[in-house]
Symmetry: C2
């Protein structure tokens, strides 16, 4: 195909330096260099092709995943890639696989919960992939309620072993990624029982399969749990089911950093604080927030480019029709998602910092900020994953009919992304945790306890409960202070109102249960404030590059005012703004969309995604959509023959009125 | 498996007569009888099994669809089913197929746009399926903008024929269901050109394939456009691509009811009014609204039953944990969807009536209500399909991790449903049409023109602009009058405000474009009012059966107050209600949820869906979820062998550190 950049004119409209924005998005020039280099490496290697993925059968898809994983590992070794580069490579291969869990959960679990000794024994094996591990927590009957897990690990002092057992059907491990077909080992969460006493859920390293021939060890029943949402998508992963029939493991395979069982069978706590586990959670959720900005930006990139290519209606005198990106309805759906992608990127960056901060404090035995950090990451995980899941589907709809084709890339992106709303904490359950923390914070306001971190605005509750928004013209909404105060006032007022309603209940747990739907809204308001405030903080940094600051200010404003418009009811009912001010915000939003419009394509180019990574005909860099769609269609297996398989048995007898006698 | 009704206790809690509610849902005792009988017929026939559908390759799935379609047709003939019964049978077979378009679009197009003669010639062939037809309108380059289609039909007076041609790549027909592999004929929309003059888009009956061997006729290039969203789902349909290279058809294959081309090549309008086409649109969209209530109720049935089976947290003294349906957050997400399913059912019923009413009026040459009926169906199509698509996904999330499995049925239901937001009019484009109609209605208010039908409340604009809501206690929100007036006031005030903003623009088209995002919100407010008001009207009918009326009143209230809460911002900013009243509505909503709770299972039982139709382990009637999930897992192709295909090539070399030399 002739290579013409159909979006060249769009690109020429940009009012900022795209290369500088690429650095902002990547985080640093060095990060951009790595990401660019590895992305090209993957894109240019035929083994990593993925354009036929949706057409593969489950078995072929799975085999292909094994191939890619092995090949990626081979390349990582051959090229002596650093840890960062290796992670990037897996990221750009873009096929969910057992390695995600091996590196993302198995290794961190051992690091976080294993003793020095255990780490020394197991980590080198894992680092070389001489063993492959997964994270086996969830069971058929229990996911959110980890404390309710039923698998047992009973200590047998005679043998100095634990007996791992699945006492009921619902105690079957169910969901762990990589478990079904690949993992040789698992960190298994089970109720620790010593001398008839139940000590609750603990982690154990359990070997599942022979390292010789991969057959499951005696007492281990293991398999895949079956197809999941979408073509391709998460079906490349072997989420598994696992049952134990009195499987014995040595005592030293209990992860003993925080608590131990001694040779005599005594259960003991070490002097390492339990809160350490929160550190791991903060880490994992921080990566989920970063992933959200990737997934959303990818969908937005596709929808934005296609919206500039697609023309529909509005042709005058036989001229070209209007690009759909010029419709205000399209802009009002698309641009807030573009802004959200940037917002999530920056809050993700900040979370990375938070994790380091928390880790340092933990090492210094300072646990003061941990509950706040924990609530904050839980809330941000919930907010960003929900918004991203919805946002991807909205991007798909923004592409009209063609978005429904697998070749648009959006169906698979959606299907593979949505479980992020469920795993690592169901999003509603997480918001309830945030709400609980907020109610506690409010209740302590009088007591002189100073709220820290992302709740510190609550320390100004008195002011925020009665302040008045002084916006008088649409442009006044450009002032970060005014925006921030409106969000703070809304969050505080909703929190306080809920706390007051709670106090009317004799039993506070009952009150919490009864008002939980409201509490979720309170938590959401708080989390939105965090994202807005971190975006505003980001703008206070020095960010070099022509026009960059202006673009980011514009996006920050779009994000905040879009939220304000969407949740107008909150702002109005708490009296934080007036109806007139809400309407001015809406006017301002409209004028911001016009400012985004000429920069839209460049703003998605700044993600620096290769066509390979995007995996979308609608989103291809050159915008040459129609010929590519047309050519791709003919690749479908159904087009292998002109007359379809089944014609003679089924169609012909129907047309010829010969069904009566037919055996079908 | 032992058959125990795990939901028996739930069923015993119902405060109404489920059998009577089944009749309400079905529409009449007779409709229930038919539906129940046909549903059982389908469920008991092994040919119609669909539990392995998500695992089939595209080709196998397609062949299976051909088989089911042929077999269904055979059964229809053998059992001499009536038209209603045949349609029900296809409905319960529940596999999207070319027959949907044949019966749902091809036949109605000929009926609506063909002359008497044409109908006599073509309909008998279509009725017997001696020909199979599709509806070929959309092209690669044009969907929403039908007037922009590029395919040409040029009249050749010499031969008395039309020459159908695809002049550009973007003029390729693209999307028509049933086109890719099956249809022998199509109604093709093309620009009519006589004597060099372009008369715009018209419909033509074009034969595509030989009736002898199914090969495409000369000049016809046809194929499938490739995989679409999801496993199974819409991939059973052969949405097609079609190009014409100067294909000739006789003149009498132009659909000539409304306009004709004479033997001499003269273009003429008949005395049949053009508006007739709107009649067909009203018909098709009415079926879409009915389908929305089916799809949503199905998802709600699954999520409700599973929420009663699933227990998580809250065990006291070793007793059972809390059913997740008892969590207020779960209720606040689920019950509004349950109420929506009922609301859409009733508005769908009313649309059926509207269609008949419009048809009668058309026959009497009365076009007065047509624009309003058209706007109303466009709006309701948009509202119900958007809400249903979102609702299905919410139901999936309500099922936690297990909802992500194909065996939950929800992923496929979502994937097969979502294009309803796009086909038959993109939902945003439709809302803009509604908005246009509303602005026109507002502008004529002063002129003495009386708004009709669903806009008649605008005739009371003066009152509604200044009325005050008199709610003082939560229970006051039970009064339908108060609810209705709040919705009417909101819709009028938003309309009028938008009209005023529009009037500030010198060029009204520019104004419309600039304010289009607001206009979409106005249209949505109007459509929500329609659904609420039709639900309230339904309650004014006599509806027999113990407790039925109460249940419906409760659901109506849930639906309305849920919307009010969700769109609080609208109600507050227009001053229709106060913040205090909004908060009372929320209190009332909470107490309504408690009233729904004991009836929830019975309310979904009333849909009378068989386990076959539901196609969901999580939603199975007896609630015996876990053993069924466990057994289904082992059916996955990946579990055919314990050691996966690819182990020797990829996993073993990795574990054994032998990748360096390996050829992968
Ligand atoms: C693709 C995918 C990959 C996964 N990978 C792994 C893995 O590698 N290892 C692993 O161990 N697990 C894994 N999981 C499991 C995952 O962690 C759980 O599914 C998740 O924790 C949610 O738990 P659940 O499924 O039990 O949901 P449930 O808790 O059953 O949720 C059902 C509904 O109940 C509601 N609910 C539950 N509790 C409450 C409450 N207290 N208050 C209000 N509402 C409530 C929820 O909001 C939800 O609407 C994976 C899951 C998926 C989908
Ligand atoms: C599963 C499926 C089955 C189908 N079956 C058939 C069939 O049998 N026969 C057939 O002929 N067609 C069929 N179609 C095609 C379908 O009718 C079109 O996809 C639909 O009309 C939408 O048009 P589009 O794809 O051109 O969207 P576009 O118009 O390109 O929409 C893209 C975006 O532009 C926006 N937009 C477009 N115009 C405006 C405007 N004026 N103002 C503001 N925003 C605008 C839309 O809101 C959307 O966000 C099918 C499609 C699907 C997905």
């Amino acid at each position: 195909m002739e290579v013409v950049d159909h979006l060249a004119e769009e690109r020429s409209k940009a009012e900022f330096d795209v290369e500088a924005m690429k650095i902002v998005w990547a985080g640093s020039p060095q990060a951009l260099e790595v990401s660019d280099r590895i992305s090209k490496l993957v894109a240019s290697d035929p083994v990593f092709r993925k354009d036929n993925r949706p057409m593969l059968s489950r078995k072929d898809l799975f085999k292909n995943t094994l191939r890619k994983a092995a090949y990626a590992w081979k390349r990582i070794i051959e090229l002596r890639l650093s840890e960062e580069e290796a992670a990037k490579l897996r990221f750009f291969v873009d096929q969910t696989a057992f390695t995600d869990l091996h590196w993302g959960m198995f290794v961190p679990a051992i690091k976080g919960q294993g003793t020095e000794e255990q780490q020394q024994k197991w980590l080198p094996l894992a680092y070389k992939m001489q063993i492959i591990g997964c994270y086996a927590q969830t069971e058929l009957g229990h996911g959110s309620n980890v404390q309710g897990l039923e698998t047992t690990a009973t200590f047998d002092p005679q043998a100095d072993e634990f007996i791992i057992h699945s006492p009921t059907l619902t105690s079957s491990k169910w969901w762990p990624g990589g478990l079904g077909k690949v993992s040789t080992h698992a960190v298994v969460y089970a109720r620790l029982i010593t001398d008839g006493q139940d000590h609750g859920v603990h982690g154990f390293i359990v070997q599942l399969r022979s390292l010789e021939d991969h057959s499951p060890l005696p007492g281990v029943t293991v398999g895949d749990i079956g197809m999941k949402f979408g073509n391709g998508a998460y079906n490349s992963m072997d989420n598994g089911v696992l049952r134990f029939d009195h499987v014995r493991i040595p005592r030293d395979q209990m992860l003993m950093r925080v608590s131990q069982v001694t040779r005599e069978g005594k259960y003991m706590q070490s002097n390492v604080p339990r809160q350490l586990v929160y550190g791991t959670m903060v880490y994992v959720r921080q990566t989920i927030v970063a992933d959200a900005s990737c997934a959303l930006s990818r969908a937005v990139c596709i929808a934005t480019r296609y919206s500039a290519v697609r023309r529909q209606f509005g042709s005058q005198n036989g001229g070209p029709e209007t690009q759909v990106i010029d419709y205000k309805t399209q802009q009002s759906r698309l641009f807030p998602l573009l802004a959200s992608a940037y917002a999530f990127r920056f809050v993700g960056e900040w979370l990375k910092w938070l994790y380091m901060d928390v880790t340092q404090k933990l090492q210094a035995n300072d646990f003061s900020t941990l509950p706040e950090a924990h609530a904050c990451t839980a809330g941000l995980k919930s907010l960003t994953t929900s918004a991203t899941a919805d946002g991807i589907e909205e991007c798909r709809k923004l592409c009209g009919g063609h978005g429904y084709l697998c070749s648009s890339g959006l169906p698979e992106l959606f299907a593979v992304y949505v479980p992020a709303c469920t795993y690592e904490g169901d999003n509603i359950v997480l918001l309830l945790q945030v709400a609980r923390f907020l109610m506690k914070t409010v209740s302590q306001l009088g007591s002189g306890m100073k709220p820290v971190g992302t709740t510190s605005y609550m320390g100004r509750a008195e002011h925020l409960m009665q302040c008045r928004c002084d916006i008088q013209r649409a442009e006044d909404w450009e002032k970060p202070r005014a925006v921030l105060e409106a969000f703070e006032a809304r969050a505080v007022r909703m929190s306080v109102a809920c706390a007051q309603n709670l106090s009317k209940f004799a039993n506070s747990e009952e009150g919490f249960a009864e008002l939980s739907a409201d509490l979720v809204e309170v938590a959401a308001a708080h989390c939105q404030l965090i994202v807005v405030s971190k975006f505003i903080e980001k703008l206070q940094q020095v960010i070099p590059g022509k026009g960059i600051k202006q673009q980011l200010e514009m996006l920050c404003n779009v994000y905040a005012l879009f939220l304000l418009h969407k949740h107008q009811g909150d702002f109005l009912s708490t009296g934080c703004i007036t109806a007139k001010q809400a309407s001015l915000a809406n006017d301002q939003l409209r004028s911001l969309y016009s400012q985004v419009r000429p920069n839209a394509i460049a703003l998605v180019d700044a993600f620096n995604y290769s066509d390979h990574y995007l995996g979308s005909i609608l989103g291809c860099y050159d915008g040459n959509v129609y010929p590519k769609l047309y050519e791709a269609a003919w690749m479908d297996p159904l087009n292998e023959s002109v007359v379809p398989d089944g014609y003679h048995e089924y169609i012909q007898p129907m047309l010829k009125q010969q069904l009566r006698g037919a055996r079908l």
